[in-house]
Amino acid sequence: MSSRNAICPNCGAEVRFRWSGAVQTTCEYCQSILVRNDLNLALVGKAADLPVDISPVQIGTEGIFNGKGFQVIGRIVYRYDLGTWNEWHLLFSDDSHGWLSDAQAEYAVSFANPFTVAPPAEGYLERGMRMEQHGVQLTLTVITEAFYETTEGELPFRYYDKEKCRFADFRTSDGRFATVDYSEEPPLLFLGQFVDFGSLQMKNLKEFEGWPTV
């Protein structure tokens, strides 16, 4: 296991890892994107400025999902035709990790899963098509073209050199969903469920001027 603390090779600031599995992080001070190679951190680029962003979630936010505590340790920001959305990287109390997506304050928690059935090929995606993964019947509802905007904090993989991404969102009749991320080869599957803001019991949220805190 790598040490939990390291020095930013760009500015010399201390870089603290919250999760032993992190592959990539961003220096809080100089926004350098740093990738872990054994004990060293390699500078691979500089994160773009964060966009105008009024997500109430931030790095350090804590919450509870399915009875298990989590902490937000990183995020990927995507831009799409309605603005930006965040995929917050969650580290759970049992060292597992997952994602909290926040698009226009609609929240969903998902986890990377292997495919049980090969996903439809990227060129053949069509709204309404069905897919079964892990015994869940899924219907394709939205195909989203997104642009990688920037990253922040700790991520389980290198995610600094992407541009365009295509996502296929599948829904069910019971609040579960799946996303197939075609930006990787082979594609990645994320399975999860939509959640109410209140059910996550989040703390360390951002405050909004003029609004009562939650």
């Binding site: 009024i54 109430p56 804590e62 902490q71 304050a105 219907t139 939205v142 829904r171 001027e209 609004w211």
Partner: protein, 443 residues
Amino acid sequence: MSPATPRKGIVPKAKALNCPNCGSQIELRALGAAASVICNYCSSTIDASHPQLRVIAQWQAAMTVEPMIPLGSRGKLQGVLWEAIGFQQRGINVDGTNYFWREYVLWNPYHGFRYLSEYNNHWNFVTPLRTLPAATTVHALPGMQLGTERYRHFQTARAHTWFVIGEFPWMVQVGEVVEAADYVAPPKMLSSETSDNEVTWSESEYLTGAEIWQAFGLKTPCPSPVGVFANQPSPYAGRVAATWKFYGLVCAGLLALMIFFAVTAQRQNALDQKFVVAGRRTTGEKSFVTEVFPLEGENGNVEVSVNADVANRWVYLSMALINEETGQAYDFGQEVSYYSGRDSDGDWSEGSRSEEVLLPGIPGGRYYLRVEPETDASLSDPIPVRIQVVRGVPYYLRYFLGMLLVLIPPVWVSIRAGVFEAKRWGESDHAGGSSSASEEEEE
């Protein structure tokens, strides 16, 4: 888990920006969350998700509508504080007539977007759905199922956007057309909007104007709703079943009372006397008195039955039940007549040879009957008459009258409920179809 480093992020209030088209000031209430904002002055649709605003579309306002909830107002609904940030008027055209309704975009930085819709002062709180309802059939109509709730198809129409101001989570434009379908299960409603093959679903819950006025602290007078709305809860919902249940209980009670009194009735044979009513040629005193008989018990009814062997004639008995000790008299009379014959339709008969009179509330004591008979003076044959007096007979009519009387509330409520449902479904695509009203109450 290691403790987080709390980084107190505070999102400042959005600053006012200038419209890139006309330069007038635009207030952004949900900067970064809303996708588009409409300029109040030049009606341009502006991309609100970029810090540098840019014009998406321009249009000419065909109408101007003043929102009843001013944009920027805040109100608490379902336990969350919401700010009205956008407003649009949409309409459908049915047989050449435009029907307009209004929608408000509500926003909370933590809870995101909700909507309020208003038509004829009927309100709905609308939550976007992220689950897919399953198609089903409800009472022979197409329907949708979400969880355990089943919704009946109400209306499908093409909804046209006529007027827009403020911020929206999508790129709203005047002239936008979607196919809108509503499915109802009062007080809830599921709605789908289909455009470019994309379907979005939402779930609505009926609210009254008074609830909206109170939540947003509106000072204007709250207009009354007109007509019955698609998912307006029926004021009779649940009451139909309840009143019928109550009716059943009352009937059971009356039946039990009737059986109890029938079984325990006194049935004391107080008098059984035969006499003859003379015809025309008979002379002498016509009235007479019976022997004295006791009526037992404190108080009770007395049944006097008269049996007269009449054929094609009548006899009328003026009677008085007289208390021997007090002289208290109860006057009553009874006609007995019986006619029969044969005509082109065959045998016929009319009347009866036996009749009963029930005298209620006769105190106990020693009594006799004074009888004054009258008959058809043109006939001479004497008529044998038998008078029987029975103390304490069971009396059934009042129970049946009672049952009939308590039938009024359930029938009334059922009719009102039916009328309400007929008004509701009269506005739907299924108006004039098979009775929706009665089916509605079966569940």
